[in-house]
Symmetry: C2
Subunit: 153 residues, 2 copies
DNA sequence: ACCAAAAACTAGACATTGTCCAATACTGGA
DNA sequence: TCCAGTATTGGACAATGTCTAGTTTTTGGT
């Protein structure tokens, strides 16, 4: 099975290493996790990885377009492998859970501002903020931030 | 002139202090600045202010709805006093310049996702990413990040 | 297979942004 | 004016990410 991933990396001009394969797999297995969570996941796959390597692997993968980094306010960056379809995100203000939502419009940039002020716009990033079903039913009582802000898509 | 601002704070249930007046004035004078920039501005008004006070003043003002905090990726939080009109932002990937853009739709939440996944959505945050006119004409040559990512609206 | 060059990995120090806390100073109402 | 309640301050701390120098691994040619 690792064949596929190896091919993928090579096709994108990325040299193949155990660390990068594991990082990519971790992102794929459960999207919207933080660098730290991913490092943990990778450790359970290959035993050990340094923090720095996780960061550089994620950066490399993101630069080459294999994964996408999302950086919600009040949260460390998160990563996902669903790319190229211009979807957006819905984030719970209370627990930080992230879910994907399809773009209501279409291809990027999915929105054009009335006045672009001379900017060359390449992306319209949309984040919907609200409360997730779990936090709504918890009625703001015991709910804390960061219960499991990941694979809710 | 400070009369107005004092009234404003009192009306919003905020106790009036020299620091808060200065912070509010700093935000108003030049929007989209960071806490650090604002601290500098305040110091030139009233001589001195602690970092912590700037942060708590900004938080207080934001909570009471007098100012709004925006937190673009790869940038410290920025603050603006234009509130209640659901406008969005256009940010230069190269220099970080921020400009306001009017919401192409109207009142918040200005967009409804097709599938809200059971979330109670209260805001759709839109950030347009691109390159500002200055960075376009600099043709990626000498341009560095953070030339003056502020009052370009 | 082997070797050299290039690239990636690692650990640790460092940078930035923001928060916590306890002591002191100020504000607003009686 | 005095007092209780707030706000301010500075210093330590926390979270996330980056830099760097040295070591290890991968790659491509023999």
């Amino acid at each position: 099975m690792p064949e596929d991933a190896e091919q993928l990396l090579r096709q994108h001009g990325i040299t193949v290493t155990a660390q990068r394969l594991a990082v990519l797999r971790a992102v794929t297995e459960k999207p919207h996790r933080t660098a730290d969570d991913l490092a943990e996941a990778v450790r359970s796959m290959i035993g050990a990885i340094s923090r720095q390597t996780v960061y550089s692997a994620l950066q490399e993968l993101a630069e080459r377009g294999l994964i996408r980094r999302i950086q919600p306010a009040n949260s460390p960056a998160r990563y996902e492998d669903r790319i190229g379809d211009n979807h957006h995100h819905l984030i719970c203000r209370n627990c930080g859970a992230v879910v994907d939502v399809d773009c209501p419009v279409g291809a990027a940039p999915c929105l054009k501002p009335c006045d672009d002020a001379g900017y060359a716009i390449d992306e319209a990033e949309v984040i919907y903020w609200g409360r997730c079903p779990a936090c709504i039913s918890d009625a703001g009582a015991t709910a804390q931030r960061n219960s499991d802000p990941t694979n809710h898509s």
